[in-house]
Symmetry: C2
Subunit: 202 residues, 2 copies
C-alpha cells in the first residue's frame, strides 16, 4: 500500500501544475476584445450616419407638366418600401450596437469579464443582423440602381438626373450600410476565430 502510494503520487503531482498552466481560464484571443469594441464603434457610427443621411434625403423639385405649368414634387425615402426597410434594419442594428458596445467595453475593462457565453450570444445576434442588414442593403441598392440607370426594358425612367441631391443621399446611405454589413461580417469572423482558438486550446 505504501509502495503504491509512492509510485503513483509523484507523476500525478507533476502533471497537476502543467495541466493548470497550459490553458488560461478565460482566453480572449489576444487583441481581439479591443478590435471587437473598435469594430462595434465603427458599426454604430456607420449605421447612425446612414440613417441620418437617408432620413434627410428629401428633395423637392418643380416638375413641368405643360408649357407654363410646373408643380413642386418631392422625393423622399418613404416613397420606396426598400428604403423604409433599410432605415428600419439600420435602426435595429444601431440600437443593438449601443448595447453590445457598452457590454464589450465593460467586459474589456473588467478582468475576465468577457465570458464565452456573452461572446456566444453576441455572435448569434451578429450573424442574424448580418443577414438582415445585407438584405436591406441589397434591396435599397437594387432600387437605387434603377433610380440611377433606369430600365429601358420595363420602361422605368431614371430619376437621378432630376433629383440629384436625393440620389446622392441614397447612394451614400447604401454605401454606408454596405460598410456596416462588411463590419458585421468581420465581427462574426473575429468571434468565430476566438471561439475556434479557445476550442483548439482545449
Amino acid at each position: 500500500m505504501a509502495s503504491y502510494d509512492t509510485t503513483s503520487s509523484p507523476p500525478a503531482a507533476a502533471e497537476e501544475p502543467l495541466k493548470r498552466s497550459a490553458p488560461p481560464p478565460e482566453y480572449n484571443g489576444g487583441f481581439s476584445p479591443v478590435v471587437d469594441v473598435a469594430l462595434r464603434v465603427l458599426l454604430f457610427a456607420t449605421t447612425l450616419v446612414a440613417i441620418i443621411v437617408m432620413v434627410t434625403s428629401k428633395q423637392t423639385k418643380l416638375i413641368p407638366l405643360a408649357p407654363g405649368l410646373a408643380i413642386p414634387l418631392p422625393a423622399k425615402f418613404q416613397h420606396a418600401p426598400a428604403f423604409i426597410y433599410l432605415v428600419a434594419a439600420l435602426s435595429v442594428t444601431s440600437l443593438y450596437t449601443i448595447v453590445t458596445c457598452v457590454l464589450s467595453a465593460l467586459a474589456l475593462m473588467t478582468p475576465g469579464g468577457c465570458s464565452t457565453k456573452l461572446q456566444f450570444h453576441f455572435l448569434m445576434f451578429d450573424a442574424l443582423l448580418l443577414g438582415i442588414v445585407a438584405a436591406a442593403t441589397g434591396a435599397a441598392g437594387g432600387v437605387a440602381y434603377i433610380g440611377l440607370k433606369g430600365n429601358s426594358h420595363t420602361g422605368w425612367n431614371k430619376i437621378c438626373n432630376t433629383y440629384d441631391s436625393f440620389c446622392f443621399h441614397t447612394a451614400a446611405s447604401v454605401l454606408l450600410s454596405l460598410i456596416s454589413s462588411i463590419t458585421l461580417l468581420l465581427l462574426v469572423w473575429l468571434s468565430i476565430s476566438v471561439l475556434y482558438k479557445k476550442t483548439a486550446r482545449r
Copy 2:
C-alpha cells in the same frame, strides 16, 4: 504520512475517471453532423431550384403599340442586373454546397473525421455566403416588388399584370433564395453552437 495518503488519495482517484469521461476527444454536438448534412442538402436543393426557376422565366408577349400594331416583347432575367446578381450568387452557393455536402457526409461516415478545423473553415465561408445570398435576395426582391406593385411617385409602372408567368418565376426564385438565406443562417448558428459547446466542455 500514512494518514495523509489515505485521506488524499481516495478523492483524487474518484475524480480521475470523472474527468476522463466528461469531455470526449472530439465532440460533434450530438446529432449536429446529421442536421448539418441535412441543412446542406436542403440548401443545395433550394439554390438549384431557384436558379432553374429564374433562368427559365423568359416570357414573350405581344405589346400593342398602336391600333392594329403589336410587337412581341420578351421579359427575361438578364434585363435586370439584380436578377443576374441573384443567379450568380446562387450558383456560387450551389457549387460551394456540393463541396461542403460531400465533405460533411464523408466526415459523418468516418469516425472522428469531422474535425474542428474543417468546421471552422465551413463556418467562415457560410457566414460570407450568408451575407452574399441575403444581399442578392434583397436586391432581387426589391426589384421584383417594383415589378409587382410599381411606384406611382417615380412613375415606374408595374409589369406583372402583363408578364404574369415571368413574375411568378421571379417571385418563386426570390422566395427560394430567401429560404436559402435562412438555411445558411441556421447552418451558421448550428456550427457556432457546436463550437461553443466544445469550448464550454474545455
